[in-house]
Symmetry: C2
Subunit: 381 residues, 2 copies
Amino acid sequence: MHASAFVHRNYIHHPPIFSSCRRVCFASRLRSTIRMSLKEDGPSVAVVGVTGAVGQEFLQVLSDRDFPYRSISMLASRRSAGHHLSFEGREYEIEELVPESFDDVDIALFSAGGSVSRDMAPIAVQRGAFVVDNSSAFRMDPRVPLVIPEVNPDAMAHISLRKRGKEGAIIANPNCSTIICLMAATPLHRHAKVVRMVVSTYQAASGAGAAAMEELKLQTREVLDGKQPTCKIFKQQYAFNLFSHNAPILSNGYNEEEMKLVKETRKIWDDLSVKVTATCIRVPVMRAHAESINLQFEKSMDEATARQILEEAAGLVVIDDRSSNLFPTPLEVSNKDDVAVGRIRQDLSQEGNHGLDIFVCGDQIRKGAALNAVQIAEKLL
Amino acid sequence: MHASAFVHRNYIHHPPIFSSCRRVCFASRLRSTIRMSLKEDGPSVAVVGVTGAVGQEFLQVLSDRDFPYRSISMLASRRSAGHHLSFEGREYEIEELVPESFDDVDIALFSAGGSVSRDMAPIAVQRGAFVVDNSSAFRMDPRVPLVIPEVNPDAMAHISLRKRGKEGAIIANPNCSTIICLMAATPLHRHAKVVRMVVSTYQAASGAGAAAMEELKLQTREVLDGKQPTCKIFKQQYAFNLFSHNAPILSNGYNEEEMKLVKETRKIWDDLSVKVTATCIRVPVMRAHAESINLQFEKSMDEATARQILEEAAGLVVIDDRSSNLFPTPLEVSNKDDVAVGRIRQDLSQEGNHGLDIFVCGDQIRKGAALNAVQIAEKLL
């Protein structure tokens, strides 16, 4: 850890001009008192893309988990620089992201898109920072660990703030759909080895950012009022509709979102033999993804064992009340840390006890992005 | 065909009292002129459950397809009896459904729920009517054909108005999810034999009736206005949410909706060996279902062949524009006859060319119910 002096980076000691605070109205979600997480011996943290949906959630999660930071830099594009935001009872000025932003930064949480990560994460590393990157830029880079802390913490066991040299390192946050899927599939995989997985997703607006969530709301009101829906973020009507995920389609007919599930699963499980297919669909839901997952196991996996394994797994909650017909829903898991799993049943279409169907829901912004990244940052301490 | 006299059943010659017409406001969707489909030598038709979403669509489809009826009885529960509705430029009085309703009826289109079908369809048959039943009451009865006209017309080849004796017969309309799935899967099955199918559905409000569609609209407005959503039809919030299909869960953990897909596929394909698993999910969409379908074939089935087969199949339209990222959506197929299929691609998780992923959308009320039933009725002529 850097033995630097006690510095509140970007901390403004005088009352801020609140009227200039735009797009950062999450103060009400945070505790307003000055928190104990401001630790002299904690790391200095930078949040890159702080005005975005995931950026804001980074702050929320840091606060919720009492992350022991020494200082925080609030970094964004030039457009947002100079605006103020309040966090844990202090006021911060948003700074433009430049190479010098990473001087004296221990941990940088990135969520500002792939091109920003590709440009700036290596610079941050050169300047000594550990980057937890939420973009897809480095996920498949063999030198970069791709980590879900409950699933493959060992992949980053060699990286720690205590053991760093002159340079830092990048740790990649998996794609939201992969995290939510593997939170449920991995405990079962450990027990009976998943050989094949067929996934169909029901993905929320939040995956396309805060503007997409706003567009869904706007469109929905327009449709209810009999008006033509505004289509800016997506090129087709989203309200009361669903469509194939808007990620580009590759030559094999899969879209990039689907291939993330295929490839990231192999890397995270360190198992090139696991077979995965996925169909990713965007549904008119705000901030939590759902996934219907069909599993094929090498060994026997009966339903009762599966339920017990899932009930005991960290970060997972089983909602599987058949008599009341209550199972996971996106709304139920919204703003929550745990991924929910239900509809646990032996797959009728597979011989013996080698198949299982499950249905999972997880908050896309939280465990699908910000929470997982902050959990990675905690592992660095 | 009955050689009965020319009778306009329930046809009111005098101007109706429009103020008493409730719940039947679909006149605007129908052509207002008197149509040529009123044929002296056509069958007399009864529509059972005429005030429901499917009942109203029966009329729409009969009109759209110039179904050559001699007369139509508009039948419903006592609650709706006495109300008037207009159809093809004529005014009809809705009658209470009683055994005598079927005297002199050639074809009865039923969509008034399973218990009404169980009680009244056998009575209709005894009185000489051919019943096309949209409920699940007789679907798995080995004596009753379960028919999608494009898929298994031969199952009802022995039944015809021209060949009837004293009694009529029942033909069952499959469940909406089954019809929409098999419209796309069957042409492929004929070519390479489907041995296993993994289906995840995205089901619209219409499957739970007109009141559910209204509740979705109401809830959505309430949520946008920051109010508590009204939950009467469904016990949980539907607006901006999704949930496991509300059909009862069976002892094997599947819900009844899912088991319909499993069992009806076997019966329609006359193939007890086909393995099917399904996860049925209700999404906040109005009237068209979507389904993500993973297929496993006995023989080789390459993507190009699959596309050609689907393009040539009756009742199916291929929407599969990878460069523009345009694929089937529920909105696109709403109020349309054809089922749309897209995202056609070789399944990466299966060896050789034995797997395929597809995504289908179909209007739940139309091909999923009313259109299929009227097509069956046409086969009876």
